[in-house]
Symmetry: C2
Subunit: 195 residues, 2 copies
């Protein structure tokens, strides 16, 4: 059985996988998470539902992997200073990408409250990699002597960052941008970290 | 016309208003903003739809006023220090109230993205009073010499605060609490403000 599964799994090429993810993101934008069905994904991508379930297990994992694929965590930011690293993070996506991404994330984050599977996938594939990336970046800053290892704000960097990203729209009636994030990092995150 | 409207308006007593708001919050919890109808509010509260429209104008204003009624802004926090004021804010609601409130807020904030009327009411009746309250509190801290008038973090206090409140659940898999907010204020907001 395992062998068969492996052979079947390998039939999906990286190009085909990217195509599938793009279709899932498209559907997600059109109808939102709750109304998105595996039937619709199968129809739009001309694949069988059996293939989708075999490859991804279910809707939650498929959707979150599609989102993750669209915006991979780059573990490779290492500019030599904490400020440089944060600024590189703020400028990783263009303003347009950020606006689209924040709309998707918002919808998905809301859907997690009623879908335990989605919450699990969202944490495993989105939140936890972000936490790991931040930890690496902060540990290097501690090693360089830029921030103290026991600074209590270290545990809240993700709250500050994702929080500002999430509420920017409702507070300021405009989407998060590179300039907004950079200025927020300089005004809030770096001073809170004592950097 | 104005006189008639005034006479009619005065027929709703504060007790009746509180009853109506409680029913709206109940419905909001049960079905969410999108599925909530004025018909359902009228049926549940044994009022006529005409009365509801005359008094509140529409669903968006009714829902946001119900939420505002449930959690009024207390402009009266004034402990004599910025840290004291923030801690008083963090302890204004019990943990249980905060959990219920954050679920409602989350649902409503999401619904604002597709309902311009709701966004307008949400900003006017929830965001703007919060901004005003914070401004007063920060201005007193400036006057006492606790923080500098030109500290750039002053413009981001609401982003830090509402942001942490909004993402607490998805990052830590637990709702915001008094202790979480107090510790976040001490670790992040006060140091960022240079207090």
């Amino acid at each position: 059985m395992t062998e068969v599964a492996t052979v079947r799994r390998s039939r999906i090429t990286p190009e085909r996988e990217a195509e599938l993810y793009a279709a899932v993101i498209e559907l997600l934008r059109e109808v939102g998470y709750d109304a998105l069905t595996m039937d619709a994904v199968a129809a739009r991508t001309k694949s069988s539902k059996a293939t989708l379930y075999r490859q991804w297990g279910g809707k939650a994992e498929l959707v979150v992997k599609a989102l993750r694929h669209q915006k991979p965590v780059n573990g490779d930011i290492d500019t030599g200073s904490l400020r440089g690293d944060f600024h590189a993070m703020a400028r990783r996506d263009t303003d347009c990408e950020m606006e689209q991404h924040s709309a998707l994330m918002r919808g998905l984050a809301t859907a997690t409250h009623e879908n335990p599977d989605l919450l699990r996938a969202f944490r495993e594939l989105i939140i936890e990699p972000e936490i790991e990336e931040l930890d690496t970046l902060l540990q290097r800053a501690v090693d360089r002597g830029e921030i103290r290892a026991d600074n209590p704000a270290k545990d809240y960097v993700l709250h500050m960052l994702i929080g500002a990203f999430a509420v920017r729209n409702i507070i300021d009636q405009q989407p998060p941008t590179q300039d907004f994030l950079t200025s927020y990092m300089d005004a809030v995150i770096l001073p809170a970290l004592g950097a």
